[in-house]
């Protein structure tokens, strides 16, 4: 366990799935103003005006030692149709060249079934793990100031699905027209951590 700030504690965990379960446990148990999973960590914020740091550390240690068992596999399955390359994927050619793949190969390797590791960054942005080793690439050196919603990026062995327009640092290989976040909806988030995502290639038209 480490300090992540005056009112923040961080613990390392083995993998994104464990992080999600532990963070969900902590949110359910209450006593934290936030409990958020990262890829390999969980960070909690607590009210330092009322809770002693030592007590918070004890509770967090206990939670880390008693993480609930994996639940039944999530039934959420979402197909994400992607237009690869062209204007939809401005870094498609760069990624192909960098990874030594043809366009067809890149699409073939990227299409398929994955699991959402976590949401984060902005509302509904999805970090999707399990990318093929042949598609591991770094973030862009210079992030873009503005990219459209639905952009599909890859970086560090993950696919990132941009739910909103805005700045973005992941190389973009395509775009989906699937709505990923809708504040006006009763269920604003299309994806949840643990959901199954199926990427399929579609034509521009």
């Amino acid at each position: 366990m480490r300090s992540a700030g005056d009112d923040l504690l961080s613990v390392s965990v083995a993998d994104p799935q464990t992080a999600q379960r532990m963070a969900a446990d902590l949110r359910e148990s209450g006593g934290w103003t936030e409990a958020v999973a990262g890829v390999d960590s969980v960070v909690v914020r607590f009210d330092i005006a009322n809770i002693l740091r030592a007590d918070a550390e004890n509770r967090l240690s206990n939670a880390a030692a008693n993480i609930s068992a994996p639940a039944e596999r999530q039934q959420v399955v979402v197909e994400i149709p992607v237009v690869y390359g062209g204007e939809s994927g401005p870094d498609f050619a760069f990624v192909c060249e960098k990874l030594g793949l043809s366009g067809m190969e890149l699409i073939e390797i990227h299409c398929g079934e994955y699991t959402v590791d976590m949401l984060g960054f902005t509302p509904g942005f999805a970090y999707i793990g399990g990318l093929d080793d042949r598609l591991v690439i770094d973030r862009l050196e210079h992030p873009r100031q503005h990219i459209p919603a639905g952009s599909v990026g890859i970086a560090g062995g993950r696919t990132g699905l941009y739910s909103l327009p805005g700045p973005g640092g992941w190389p973009l290989i395509g775009r989906t027209d699937r709505l990923l976040f809708d504040a006006a909806s009763d269920e604003p988030f299309t994806l949840v951590a643990g959901a199954t995502v199926i990427f399929t290639a579609v034509d521009d038209s």
Binding site: S3, G5, G120
Partner: protein, 313 residues
């Protein structure tokens, strides 16, 4: 009762309490960038500290009223007028039909707050009426106000007696700021962490409700700088590849993949809303235990004027 926007200024939004408990879905806190100043405006007009109010940025805002109301202006120092005649900040202003109130350009500080007796009606989304511009929700249609927009009061019957903020409770708006912070690195090791605390940084022009860029010396990290995305909170200071420092603010992303090298203490987060490009900033080191104790002291000081201070800072 309608409040009409005559001049919206650079970026005027409705802000209220922060969103809470949704960071795991990517939803940031939002709310006033300087919640203490917003609370002081709400206090004068008899509202709870985090009632919906206007946050204007740098260039002020001009409003027209069509009925009697009581308002108050706090935050950045600015020349304020009622029908062209100067009025005081940190004091109630009685307005009536046909009146025009102008909040002038910020002289010191960045953000002015205008509170209205009864609070503003606003879109309550994901647990708060605060505007979150990136995703376009909350406040007034999820966006910054535009000329001609019309706002309504949440409670039209509210009334507030004439009042002003005691001199001891008017936060100074400065050109040189100090904020308390902890060097407690979450994962990465900063080379020469002490350098964080013995120099003046300059606030860069690339500063907004998402974050504040610091100009000054750059820093080196003892690692390859690649880290898995981890939870990120307002006050965290990230150090991206070029070695510069970037302070996360109220609308910052909820996770991030850059090394974070320090965190501004909770008690001083409200100051982030007033750091103006060109101002200087010095970080003062505090242990986690000292930061908790000094927060309690700060609460005790403010409680006499703002009874609900613990939900503000």
């Amino acid at each position: 009762m309608t409040i009409r926007i005559l001049k919206p200024g650079l970026q005027t939004t409705i802000q209220s309490r922060p969103r809470s408990g949704l960071r795991h879905l990517g939803v940031p806190s939002s709310g006033a960038a300087d919640p203490l100043s917003m609370a002081l405006a709400n206090r004068l007009v008899g509202n709870a500290s985090l009632e919906s109010a206007l946050e204007a940025t740098l260039t002020g805002v001009t409003l027209a009223f069509d009925a009697k109301s009581t308002i108050a202006i706090t935050g950045a120092t600015a020349r304020c007028t009622l029908n062209g005649t100067a009025v005081e900040q940190h004091a109630t202003i009685a307005v009536g039909p046909g009146d025009v109130v102008a909040v002038g350009a910020a002289e010191n500080g960045v953000r002015s707050y205008v509170a209205f007796a009864g609070g503003l009606l606003a879109d309550d989304v994901l647990g708060s009426p605060s505007t979150y511009l990136t995703a376009g929700f909350g406040g007034h249609e999820g966006r910054a106000l535009e000329k001609g927009d019309e706002l309504q009061l949440a409670d039209t019957a509210a009334n507030a007696p004439s009042m002003e903020t005691p001199a001891d409770y008017r936060p100074p708006m400065l050109g040189a700021w100090t904020v308390r912070a902890g060097a407690s690195c979450e994962t990465m090791n900063l080379k020469e962490p002490q350098r964080l605390f013995d120099q003046k940084f300059t606030i860069a022009s690339r500063s907004d409700r998402m974050g504040i860029m610091l100009e000054g010396e750059t820093f080196a990290i003892e690692s390859d700088r690649q880290m898995p995305s981890a939870p990120l909170f307002p006050g965290h200071i990230q150090c991206p590849h070029d070695g510069s420092l970037y302070v996360m603010s109220v609308d910052s992303g909820t996770t991030g993949g850059y090394p974070r090298v320090a965190k501004i203490a909770r008690m001083d987060l409200h100051l982030l809303g007033q750091l103006r490009p060109g101002n200087s900033l010095t970080l003062i080191e505090r242990s986690d235990d000292d930061a908790a104790r000094e927060l309690q002291e700060k609460h005790a000081y403010w409680q006499a004027w703002l009874p609900d201070i613990a939900c503000v800072i």
